[in-house]
Symmetry: C3
Subunit: 211 residues, 3 copies
Amino acid sequence: MLYWLDVLGTAVFAISGVLLAGKLRMDPFGVLVLGVVTAIGGGTIRDMALNHGPAFWVRDPTDLVVAMVTCCVTIMVVRHPRRLPKWILPVLDAIGLSVFVGIGVDKAFLSGTGPLVAICMGVITGVGGGIIRDILAREIPMILRTEVYATACIAGGIVHATAFYQFGISSIDAMVMGMGVTLAIRLAAIRWHLKLPTFELDSSSQDSKQR
Amino acid sequence: MLYWLDVLGTAVFAISGVLLAGKLRMDPFGVLVLGVVTAIGGGTIRDMALNHGPAFWVRDPTDLVVAMVTCCVTIMVVRHPRRLPKWILPVLDAIGLSVFVGIGVDKAFLSGTGPLVAICMGVITGVGGGIIRDILAREIPMILRTEVYATACIAGGIVHATAFYQFGISSIDAMVMGMGVTLAIRLAAIRWHLKLPTFELDSSSQDSKQR
Amino acid sequence: MLYWLDVLGTAVFAISGVLLAGKLRMDPFGVLVLGVVTAIGGGTIRDMALNHGPAFWVRDPTDLVVAMVTCCVTIMVVRHPRRLPKWILPVLDAIGLSVFVGIGVDKAFLSGTGPLVAICMGVITGVGGGIIRDILAREIPMILRTEVYATACIAGGIVHATAFYQFGISSIDAMVMGMGVTLAIRLAAIRWHLKLPTFELDSSSQDSKQR
């Protein structure tokens, strides 16, 4: 079950990379690179920081293959994303995100970290790929800006880590609880366009930055 | 002493991330992510390149906690950065920078690298977080452009590495010397607006780039 | 021979970083940082993902020294890149690229990875530095967009990996074959301005992204 959710998450993230690339007049192989980086970037940063052996796709290239195939299919099939129902991609993305956060927290605990670091690893796994995608496309990462995206990851990670670390709930049950919270918050945010109030400083902040 | 300087440096870098985020209309949790990445990003890249165990904040989350608490406090307290005396943030930043460079050089020597690599690790530790911050905010990293920022790091790193490696000065004394040089150059640059002449090619450089 | 090609590739990539920096009014030490990152960035990401000891320039700083010296010489010597024959830099860059892809694939096989991961490592090694360079200069990475750049890396990597893994050709012969393919495709693309048709979605793709 988790395995298929992981495959689904990887595929959805790859699609989101390809769709963004579609706005940038890229070479098809450039599109492939952008899609694959979006799908596996977050987990790669997590594995580099944990330093617990090679990156996950080096040890087991399943996710790499899934990302590549998804990119190729998307490049060949999708021409008119307008015709997809609008809610499909965000909902799939929310599923992928919640799975990735859960996997990140779980892998961190397996490496013996404490709960705070585990939550960070969950957030990195969930948002890392999308941030790299937006950097490559020269956009301010949307993930940091809107629709309680980082918020959902952090909340789900806290629930997962607390359940496992404080209450001794089994690894898999804790993961399901955390994933449920991330998913619920994201779906609610998509459905009702929830936003947290933005943090904004008065315009003089520019003066005070000074570096 | 070094411990508290490290905490101070981490806090100042986190504040600089939050202040930049304040211009970008981010979600509060997005601000938290940006602030934390600014504070610990440089050291993380250093640890990944040295490959000497997990990143420093995975082994000991003190700096992570410091960065998070600083971000939360800054988000809640700071509304009008204009009212801070203008020199405070740059001076604190210079202190943090010199500490980070010193720690980076020191950790590299502990890993058994030569002086050249150690200087690079000092520069990475010092400027890495700020560069990631500026990339996420879609600015050309100021660190590479102005106010002898990279210059100060390189000079301090050279003094530190030379003192330790060539003259056999004790690890801690060499670090203090290097940190003093970095700090002095940055403070002088802030006080008298020192700049190196910029390197600029004639406008046809664009033609010759060709890739 | 391979050693000198590696040195040449490193030097050319460093020059391309310095030339780009020349458009950005950077501090000379900022230029040095940008040039060095361009030259060694791709291999560093590869080594972090393989997690097979410290980054290559930590173990043996030769490439680091080459990159630094090249940057310094370029900064001092080049003022009017217009006067260089237009084809020189792209051709040198194509040589460097093909060497880097070959080295990346080879190092991955030495770490015991399968062919798919090895091809990815070749692509990362070849294009990583240039992508970081363009991100720092706030450009959409040209490598993903034009002139069959990613395409050449992928094709060369596939030939190299297939020759070595499927047909049991010796490591060095397979590398030469792969490098030849990458180089030939890039040179042909430069000579005849080859481009693949760009992948582009209709303008509504923006609506469907939704994150």
